[in-house]
Amino acid sequence: MRIAFNLNGKNYHRDVSEEKRLLDFLREDMNMTSVKEGCGEGECGACTVIIDGKAVNSCLILAVEIDGHSVLTLEGLKNDIIQQAFIDSGAIQCGFCTPGMIMSTKALLDSVKNPTEEQIKTALEGNICRCTGYIKIIDAVKEAAKKYRGE
């Protein structure tokens, strides 16, 4: 099926197999290797991307479903505020979950300027980290929120 979509600010037309998942399409056809496969069933959030402003699991979406829509991956972030906050807070160990964590954070900060800890936890509840224990990740999001607001 021929699809037209916007990826990280650029418009594309591509032919894609109707069975291909968005996750595989982004990694294999579009070289967006920040998008990770963890569980493949929507539990872990490593494959999180933003479609039309909303964080979603790209393993549960077919590539054809982005026809006419905008997709944002880690590669498309215009500045590194969130990434830097994750580094500064020590919120990264193995790094496998980090792209997904950052995309969930991005979706949160684009809609809530000053999130409470509860809102941060809700925004990240679909992202599993097996190394850090989450506390530093939550610190990183608070840090990123401050920078986002220009503090």
């Binding site: 099926m1 109707e18 069975e19 998942r21 493949g40 069933e41 929507g42 539990e43 959030g45 999180t48 909303k54 964080a55 979603v56 699991n57 393993c59 549960l60 979406i61 077919l62 054809v64 479903e65 026809d67 006419g68 969930s104 979706a107 809700t122 925004a123 990240l124 509840e125 679909g126 992202n127």
Partner: protein, 279 residues
């Protein structure tokens, strides 16, 4: 596998007539089933591109249309449906709620479906097109994964009546907060008048092949005083009436105990013996 992405209802009805296929909107369940091999559709029909007004309140009835996601629900004014405000955030995760839909949850017909439980509480109806059939969700669900949808029909709308002056209780017992499939869930709507139970509805999830509701048992409570012995007795009766299974989440026996204890807990949460609570 072919994927169809109709843009209008007319186009959807035509595809449904010609190829039948498996309908989906968010795909948060259908994709998991395809990947695990428990579902292998010859055709998938994605309804998401059909632009209908998603969620509307009309004449005291909440209409939740095709493609309304849980996130759409949470950004709608649901103050007249406080129990929905409580249930929806317990479903899946932010990513799942951004994609998954109440209508899809009903059509999935899982006994652990959290949204499905609320449909039983409200005696919600489902509207099917193009036949314009409106049936009670309770009758629409025939068994786990089995719904009364004709091959040429599509599920279009859930209808929830406003129920004013009801107290509510909802609790889902599970092992973590997000991505939590209920071990047992319980929802209650209660109307009191001077300490007398005027109306009560009790729905239980994950304790039977379908969501469990018994109007017979509810009738036994209606007219009683709102007091602990009544709830203790009814809690035991519900515990006996359900038919849970043992699975990876809990044993049948544990589930029966949960049912009893949840209903006793509900009594206190609903305001019973306020002075005793917390002492």
């Amino acid at each position: 596998m072919n994927v169809f992405r109709p843009h209008t209802l007319e186009e959807l009805f035509r595809i449904r007539r010609e190829v039948r296929g498996t309908l989906f909107s968010g795909g948060t369940d259908v994709q998991v089933k395809i990947r695990s091999g428990s579902l292998s559709p010859t055709a998938l029909i994605d309804t998401k591109e059909i632009r209908t007004e998603k969620i509307v309140k009309n004449d005291g009835i909440l209409l939740i249309r095709m493609n309304t996601t849980y996130s759409d629900m949470l950004s709608f004014d649901l103050h007249e449906f406080p129990i929905l405000q409580k249930i929806i955030p317990t479903i899946g995760s932010t990513q799942i709620r951004n994609r998954g839909t109440p209508l899809g949850n009903v059509c999935n017909a899982s006994p652990a479906g959290d949204f499905l439980l609320s449909c039983y509480l409200y005696d919600a109806s489902i509207r099917l097109l193009p036949t314009e059939r409106v049936v009670k969700v309770e009758e629409f669900i025939k068994g786990p994964g089995n719904i009364a949808l004709e091959p040429y029909e599509v599920a279009y709308e859930l209808q929830f009546p406003v129920m004013n002056n009801y107290l509510y209780f909802f609790e889902k017992v599970g092992k973590r907060n997000s991505m939590n499939i209920a071990t047992v869930s319980a929802g209650i709507l209660l109307k009191l008048e001077r300490c007398i139970v005027k109306d009560i509805r009790i729905a239980l999830g994950s304790v039977c092949p379908n969501v469990f509701r018994s109007t017979e048992l509810e009738k036994k409570i209606i007219g009683s005083r709102f007091e602990l012995p009544v709830f203790k007795e009814i809690a035991q009766e519900y515990s006996n009436a359900v038919s849970p299974i043992s699975d990876v989440r809990a044993t049948a026996d544990y589930r029966r105990k949960l049912v009893r204890n949840l209903l006793i807990k509900a009594y206190f949460e609903l305001g019973g013996e306020n002075d005793v609570q917390g002492s």
